[in-house]
């Protein structure tokens, strides 16, 4: 299995990065994790969008966390301590 994953450069070990939606200030108000993460793990997404209107309800999610290499920069820069990182063990 490893050979296939290595072809795509997806690391086999993985960590789970989670953003607490309650605590998070939002990407445009704060955005510290988006700007500081060297692996570009985080992205902003809109919760609901309607045609012809600007949506102000944006959240942050860690959807590329397979690329996370555990530098823990996000934990340092997050003012609300909304990010948790947990390791998933592969057997």
């Amino acid at each position: 299995m490893g050979a296939h994953l290595r072809q795509l450069d997806i690391p086999e070990y993985t960590v789970k990065v989670q953003v607490d939606e309650e605590k998070c200030l939002g990407p445009f108000e704060c955005g510290a994790c988006l700007k500081n993460c060297p692996a570009v793990v985080f992205s902003a997404y809109s919760r609901n969008r309607t045609e012809g209107e600007i949506s102000y309800d944006w959240g942050v999610e860690a959807n590329r966390d397979v690329f996370c290499w555990r530098c823990d920069v996000c934990l340092e820069v997050c003012p609300e301590k909304a990010i948790t990182i947990s390791e998933i063990s592969k057997e």
Binding site: G31, V40, Y45, S46, E53, I54, N63, V66
Partner: protein, 278 residues
């Protein structure tokens, strides 16, 4: 040159074929639906989203079936949605393009929450209408600009060090516009660098490739910092820059700043070893 290019390029590069700039291409309902779906779906800009499924596979057979699915999906896409273009081709495109407008970058908004610049230059009549329906993606508005202004802007972006890529509409050969971006913020360049040539169903290298005059290089290292594809490195032994032509995407950023004119762009077709490497 791929089958798609031969079909829609009329013997030339697809982006210089005047047919692809016609508004008639937007008469097809399916094309318009595809554009709407693209604007509705924010997660489209978050990269390939099913990693988790791939990582939790239990057996080799399961992995093989998923890999076959992925290959099949990519095979049914229309190939190369975007392509790297050097500055001289940018000028050719602007000569034949219809209305031109600038707007903020979608990738930068979702990746770095940044609206400060307007690096996306939309060309062609069709796409602008649909952008205006989703003001989320065009915060700060769409500004129409003249041809001269567009050339000047693109020159400025090139000087700054942004790679210019040219995109088309998802389901048809209708042109969409230029994207001027840099490595970690740009969705296409980021995935291109992570996945390598496998990703060429989305972003293709240019029709050109750079060729270095090794003797003329003085090792000033300006080109090393300009390369967004990680194709150039500095050799401390030779005290010169070394260019990996297999990785080179042919954007011409290094050529434009070389003080010795030691780097030239040549058509990719002329180099047999990398002719098929897109």
């Amino acid at each position: 040159m791929c089958d798609w290019c031969q079909k829609h390029g009329a013997g030339k590069k697809w982006y210089l074929n005047i047919k692809n700039y016609s508004k008639d291409l937007y008469k097809d309902e399916a094309v318009i639906e595809a554009i709407r779906a693209y604007f509705k779906n924010t997660h489209a800009f978050s990269g390939i989203s099913s990693y988790e499924r791939y990582l939790n596979l239990k057996s080799d057979e399961e992995l093989a079936s998923v890999a076959a699915d992925v290959e099949h999906n990519i095979g049914t896409y229309m190939p190369h949605r975007g392509q790297v273009v050097p500055l001289e081709d940018v000028k050719e495109i602007i000569k034949i393009a219809g209305p031109i407008a600038e707007m903020t970058c979608v990738c930068r908004m979702s990746r770095r929450a940044n609206f400060e610049e307007k690096p996306c230059i939309l060309v062609g009549p069709g796409f602008l209408e649909y952008c205006a329906q989703w003001p989320d993606y065009t915060r700060g508005g769409i500004d129409y600009i003249s041809r001269e202004e567009a050339v000047e802007l693109m020159g400025g972006f090139n000087e700054k060090g942004y790679v210019a890529t040219f995109w088309r509409c998802w389901e048809s050969p209708a042109v969409m516009g230029f994207c001027n971006c840099e490595f970690p913020s740009c969705g296409a360049l980021l995935n291109r660098r992570r996945y390598g040539d496998w990703f060429n169903f989305f972003l293709r290298k240019a029709e050109y490739v750079v060729k270095q005059d090794f003797d003329a290089c003085i090792g000033c290292r300006i080109c090393v910092s300009r390369c967004q594809f990680g194709a150039i490195h500095y050799s401390p032994d030779w005290e010169k820059a070394i260019i990996d032509m297999k990785k080179c995407a042919g954007c011409g950023l290094c050529r434009d700043t070389c003080p010795q004119n030691a780097i030239n762009l040549v058509p990719r077709q002329e180099i047999p070893g990398i002719r098929e490497l897109w």
